[in-house]
């Protein structure tokens, strides 16, 4: 059974139809990539899953439960975390406070402390800067913090919205290798990327979104060598 299932999902901003009749499935343990041009509706899809946007039509099923009508905090509690586009860390708060806030829905103090040290193992640069306010971190460090913060709620499904945005190639590789590690440790990942090639190389399956609708889907391996996808998204 799929961990997350979107059935015929439609989302509007007023009169603008951002997502129309979208179907998508993610199985436990997978890394799934969602690619598409600017404005295709990728972030909208993630926001709808996190319940930050109203769904006009269709349903979202997570872990066998209908979550379409739930509030954002309930969804986080159920095990979905998002690292939003533009790595919205809380700039005025310390790195440590950002991590604590990521664990806001949890009550197990010992577990939280434990997970913070685990995040510091995964992102040693964050440990060196734990008292610093997040706004003073470099772009790459802020992205790491955004991912670490999302992980602090112990999600079953981690959604990353353009983690490579505006970062240097070296840092991007580091981030992708961390994504691979998180997946190897058991976290299912939904990855939204502009950097299509790299994202597909790091994922099991890919969905291609165009103007709010899925146009291609399949294993990332196959799509990487598909001529149409190659032309449109991989600059080939």
């Amino acid at each position: 059974m799929a961990l997350l299932e979107l059935k015929n999902l439609s989302v509007n901003y007023g009169a603008i139809q951002a997502v129309q009749g979208l179907n998508l499935e993610i199985n436990s343990g997978e890394v799934v990539t969602l690619i598409g041009a600017n404005g295709a509706g990728k972030s909208t899809t993630l926001r709808a899953i996190s319940r930050l946007l109203k769904v006009r039509e269709g349903s979202i099923i997570f872990d066998g439960r209908e979550i379409t009508g739930l509030a954002p905090d309930a969804v986080v509690r159920m095990g979905i975390a998002q690292s939003p586009e533009g790595r919205q860390v809380l700039a005025r708060q310390s790195v440590l406070d950002n991590l604590e806030l990521g664990a806001y829905v949890r009550k197990d103090r010992a577990g939280i402390t434990n997970d913070i040290s685990r995040m510091f193992q995964l992102f040693p640069r964050l440990e060196e800067r734990k008292q610093q306010s997040a706004g003073t971190l470099s772009g790459g460090e802020q992205q790491m913090l955004a991912i670490a913060r999302a992980m602090m709620s112990r999600p079953k499904l981690l959604m990353l919205d353009e983690p490579s945005l505006g970062l240097a190639p070296l840092i991007i590789r580091e981030i992708f290798s961390i994504i691979r590690n998180l997946n190897a440790e058991g976290t299912t990942i939904l990855l939204v990327e502009q950097n299509a090639k790299l994202a597909m190389q790091h994922s099991h399956r890919t969905y291609v979104l165009e103007a709010g609708q899925i146009t291609f889907t399949g294993s990332s391996q196959e799509l990487l060598s598909d001529d149409r996808v190659l032309h449109a998204y991989l600059g080939g």
Binding site: A71, P72, Q88, L90, Q93, L101, Y104, S153
Partner: protein, 303 residues
């Protein structure tokens, strides 16, 4: 010493009272909400105390309870203000920024007009002869002073608590806070209620202090005065409203010898402070501390 207190006691108590009212704006501001509803809850709390203190119905209570009736008045004012704040806050806090400020001003006006027309609040005349808790005005420092201490302690703890962290996250980025599983509406209403309860209790302490209570206690002018306290004092920590409230409420009195020109100087101070201390007096003091730490190496903390 006693002479000084006799002469300046009223001013001193007023300064503490105004600082408390300034702090009532601080809690909503902790989560980024500019609410100007405090004068409404202040007026409401004062009416609660004035009514319990004067009407026939409560006479047996007053006779049997003695001074204990006063803390009960504060409690009643706090509960009623908190309850009304939940009712008003849930719809009002859907609004943001200047719209919330306008809605809360409207709330203050509606409450004022209602009190102006009810019989139990004494209509336009108000309520006279509210029983006094103390004989002299300055003795009221024993009610307002401990309340201020309590609120400072409360704010200090709140700032470092889970709830305080949620407040600050919402102030910084409501959408991000929402995505992290912090329910912004719940915390905004909570902050609004805390401010309202404080303003209500201060009102209940003020009715005996002022001896009389009427609809002029909760007006638009008061909303603006409290806003000035917070703007001039600073809103990033509890010290801002404290300093702003004390200094601005004392300023007209200190300038009294200057007669007519005092209003000009008062206005000049406000303009000067808002241009040169954008983070308020508390922020400027903080900067000065950073400056001395950095340049002179004084007061450097370990770490």
């Amino acid at each position: 010493m006693t002479d000084f207190l006799q002469n300046n006691g009223f001013l001193l108590v007023t300064m503490v009272q105004q600082a408390l009212l300034a702090m009532s704006l601080y809690y909503p501001l902790m989560c980024g909400q500019l609410s100007l509803a405090s004068p409404g809850f202040y007026a409401l709390g004062g009416y609660v105390a004035a009514i319990i203190g004067t009407i026939e119905y409560f006479a047996p209570w007053r006779d049997s309870l003695g001074w204990v009736i006063f803390p009960l008045e504060w409690l009643a004012a706090g509960i009623i203000s908190g309850f009304l704040a939940v009712l008003v806050g849930i719809p009002a806090l859907r609004l943001r920024g200047i719209y919330l400020a306008l809605a809360t001003i409207a709330f203050v006006e509606i409450l004022r007009v209602v009190c102006l027309n009810l019989e139990i609040t004494g209509g336009a005349i108000g309520i006279f002869g509210v029983p006094q808790l103390f004989e002299s005005r300055w003795s009221y420092i024993w009610t307002f002073g401990p309340l201020l201490m309590l609120m400072l302690f409360f704010s200090y703890r709140l700032d470092r608590s889970r709830v305080g962290r949620a407040f600050k996250a919402i102030r910084e980025d409501e959408l991000a806070a929402d995505a992290m599983g912090i329910n912004p509406t719940r915390y905004k209403v909570l902050a609004f209620v805390i401010g309202a309860v404080l303003a209500g209790v201060v009102g209940a302490m003020s009715a005996p202090f002022l001896n009389t209570w009427n609809a002029r206690q909760g007006t638009f002018d008061a909303s603006i005065a409290y806003l000035a306290y917070v703007l001039i004092g600073g809103s990033r920590s509890m010290w801002g409203p404290l300093l702003g409230g004390m200094m601005l409420s004392a300023l007209p009195e200190i300038l009294r010898p200057l007669k007519d020109s005092r209003l000009i100087i008062n206005g000049f101070v406000l303009v000067f402070a808002s241009i040169y201390m954008p983070k308020g007096i508390a922020g400027a003091v903080g900067n000065l501390k950073n400056f001395t730490t950095r340049i002179l190496g004084i007061g450097r903390s370990e770490k």
